[in-house]
């Protein structure tokens, strides 16, 4: 299989109706994902669920507009960069726990339970995980669905 054999929706996307609705909905999905990430310590959800929602927002873009448009918004290079940076910052947060006496200590002041800025490192970890999960799932989906036969890079 090669590029020529890919279906129309792989490269050009779907119809105008779908594109318009996708454009409208996409920002709400991203906003909702962000909310889930930031309020993970107060409401159901958290970094992982929010990250997946953000990824799904981009997946919608991929499905509706085709891979090229989505890649222009967020290229594979930057997706894997964000992926690495998210993972690295989470590792760093757990390392910084050593300043609290142990590995993976919640070393930031805890604040008042129930407020947005509370729970020490939990929101920070949620953000790091959200970035990591969102970016990596976007990258993997674009790799699997659009470029399943095309991802050929040497590295």
């Amino acid at each position: 299989m090669n590029f020529k054999e890919m279906t129309r929706s792989d490269t050009l996307g779907m119809t105008v109706v779908v594109k318009t609705i996708a454009r409208l909905v996409m920002s709400f999905i991203l906003l909702f994902g962000l909310y889930i990430v930031l309020y993970g310590h107060l409401t159901p959800g958290g970094g992982f669920a929010g990250g997946v929602i953000i990824a799904i927002g981009y997946v919608l873009l991929v499905l509706a507009f085709g891979g090229k448009v989505a890649l222009n918004k967020l290229s594979n290079f930057w997706a894997s960069m964000w992926d690495n940076l998210g993972a690295l910052s989470f590792v760093c947060i757990t390392f910084l726990g050593l300043t609290g006496g142990y590995f993976a200590t919640n070393f930031v002041a805890h604040g008042t339970p129930g407020e947005l800025l509370s729970a020490g490192t939990i929101p920070l970890s949620n953000i790091a995980i959200g970035i990591k999960v969102g970016a990596s799932l976007y990258a993997i989906l674009i790799g699997l669905s659009i470029y399943g036969r095309i991802v050929t890079e040497e590295d």
Binding site: T43, P44, G46, V133, L144, G148
Partner: protein, 120 residues
Amino acid sequence: MIGHSSLYIMDIALLGMGLYAIIAKRHVIKKIIGVAIVEYAINLFLILIGYRMDGIAPIQAEGMTSAEFAKMAVDPLPQALVLTSIVIGLGTLALMASQAIKLYEKYKTFDMSEINRLRG
């Protein structure tokens, strides 16, 4: 009988269905589906273990004291474990899907009985 362990046994039946698909089916996608069913079953099993009859979700509402909360909420630990397990399942699925794509590219089939260069 009902309510003591029948839910657990039904869940094990679901797990067994997944294992059956993995053992008996030759289609690559069917094997992936089997793995997915096994993972559902195991996640469900952990949540079933942690359920407390008529319990509330483990999120402390405003104005509720910690002691009250501890008496009413369901077990949060299995939920934390299942969250991790779901993520691991998603990762495994992504890896399996990429392997399936490459297998198809090389062998032009999803039939495991034709994907048999290694034997002996």
